[in-house]
Amino acid sequence: MLSYADAEPGAELEPKQYPAARLDLVKYAGASGDFNVIHWNERLARSVGLPDVIAHGMFTMAQAGRYVTELAGGDPAAVLEFSVRFSAMVVVPDDDKGAMIEVSGTIAEKLDGNRVALSITARSGGAKVLTRARAVVRVP
């Protein structure tokens, strides 16, 4: 967990891994209302030129959101601003493991009002799946 006093711009934050299996995508489809077939139907995903079923971009952003929330002491309300660019797909094979999303971050800037800006990256399958991701969190 970050504290404002100890936050050093440039400091690297410990990466964390978040699994993404087919069941997770099915749950996310239901919870979010995004039933695009490319997120659950391999046959139709391949028919539009994708290598396999891919995760919802917003599922990946949500995993980065968990990472940021955890850094901010577990309070989702501490995440004041959060932005990402979706730079590659998270391919989720139909096996027992699915995909792994690794999220890492650095402290970008200290702002007023006990706010800290974080620069976030997410990788999966050897590719950067989120770039230019930035979060502003309020920390103790």
Binding site: G30, S32, P76, S83, V84, R85
Partner: protein
Amino acid sequence: MAVNRDYVGRTFAPTEPYEVSRTKIAEFAGAIGERSPLCHDPEAARQAGYPDVIAPPTFAIVIAITSSAQVTHDSGLGLNYARVVHGEQSFEHARPLHAGDWVVARSTIEDIKDLGRHLMVTTRTDITTVDGEHVCTARGTLVERGE
């Protein structure tokens, strides 16, 4: 069919009021693996000073999408949805959404621009309570992939 650039600056009609519920927050938090008691336990949320359970930071997409769907499915705009991928997304929260909120969302097309063979459409969605309190601004960029 080409996309109609006259749509830049256009604001769409607000959505019907949406009630943020404990059940939906718990379902969404469960689906993304967020186990914070502030999303699941009303008592924990109240002890932390919130009126009820609060939503994870990306929950606002559930509300924003009902509004931005008006944009993506507007036949006058002419976006080919089968070729559309999500390029960028951002949220600015004035405060967390919590169970019991009644909110409306209203979308404005901020920008339409070319990026090589692709076309990028950026939409801002303002989420306010039915009483007019601003809660969240969501911005999404959709990319229509060129042939």
